[in-house]
Symmetry: C2
Subunit: 222 residues, 2 copies
């Protein structure tokens, strides 16, 4: 099991977040990748309920998680960390030029052309659900999500993974789809629904999820 308190590879995460975010905090992306390649790491945990120490901003300018550090680099943004790990290990990112950049393009597409639409809907549903304007804004937000999911499903087609074989792009898409768990939207796309289950069935994902959830065990009920 990659979690190792003596490791020089460090991933930041939370030990206290609102209940709906359990299993969704983005450090799960990095844990999952590290599990896939059996690379030991340790966590440095903060509470999401209070600001992180001032000094953390020099590492993560937006005061978010995850940030990452090993003996070679110190960086932030889950997408960048995944690409970095992909370059470190072929099991996460192909070595041939076209394969590598196709997977990288898909990963970035998830971050810029799919997740923002989903987060907008989640914001309306989870954070502003009680405001009348949120109800009126929802149809358009839902339409944007549906349009993008339809395009991703079409592009995925009959393949198991976005770039043909499993890559960091799949870690990104599976975790992005999971953020819609408050709704039944994904079930409207059988291709994506089966894809999400395929990702979640991977032992590396299950271990990463278990480890993130274990870190919330000490948290008071919220």
């Amino acid at each position: 099991m990659p979690m190792d308190p003596a490791s020089t590879t460090v991933v930041t995460g939370f030990d206290e977040v609102p209940r709906f975010a359990h299993g969704l905090v983005r450090d799960i992306r990095i844990r999952w990748a590290l599990e896939e390649i059996g690379r030991p790491y340790r966590t440095r945990l903060f509470s999401a309920m209070v600001p992180r120490p001032e000094s953390y901003r020099a590492w993560q300018p937006f005061d978010q998680v995850p940030a990452y550090e090993d003996e070679h680099v110190r960086l932030f943004e889950s997408g960048a960390i995944l690409l970095y790990l992909g370059e470190e290990d072929e099991r996460l990112l192909p070595r041939d030029r076209q394969g590598r950049w196709e997977a990288s393009a898909w990963l970035i597409a998830m971050l810029n052309s799919v997740e923002p639409m989903i987060m907008q809907l989640v914001k309306l549903d989870v954070f502003n659900g009680d405001r009348p304007w949120a109800r009126e804004a929802r149809p358009e937000a839902l339409k944007a999500v549906s349009s993008r999911l339809g395009q991703v499903a079409e592009a995925l087609g009959t393949r198991d993974w976005l770039a043909g074989r499993f890559t960091v792009a799949d870690i990104m898409l599976v975790t992005v789809l999971r953020s819609l768990h408050h709704s039944k939207i994904v079930t409207g796309y059988p291709t994506l629904s089966a894809y999400q289950r395929r990702g979640e069935a991977r032992p590396a994902f299950r271990q990463a999820l278990a480890d993130q959830l274990a870190d919330f065990a000490g948290q008071e009920a919220t």
Copy 2:
């Protein structure tokens, strides 16, 4: 001048878009990078007003621009294309590991942690300005933009460029800031305002902008 109709490097763009998007369409990011390194390219242009040919989706799954092709790769998403070009030429992305990944992290941060908040505000202002719920949704959207711009300004500090020297991350941030041109928001952050001007003063940016605008010359007034 890098534009060359015989080039094997191809960037897709538009020759017809709504007036407010002139100078903002994202192929400008790729043109700018190619100008910085003096690498010839040609464009393949579509209208934004009608869907692209069905076959284009195999290249750009979301039917957007830019997509990119050269003798080695065929890919999509401006962020991925910029990282690819950065790897091709040190003038766009440092070669040392920490420098390279820091710039990559900033580029991805712009795509996932800054641009989505800005696009949300632009959507409210430009596309839904006449709907009552857009007015009510605006304060929160503006707050999200302000918070992120404040954090970016703080991280930039007194440096000229995000990662110390000019990189593809700056092409990303300057073009992201430009998408707020319908408002005076950026002028509230003197650090960012000066930064944007510094980017826009680069000869490579000016050439890229001129070339994108020239492609709209044949368009009817809209």
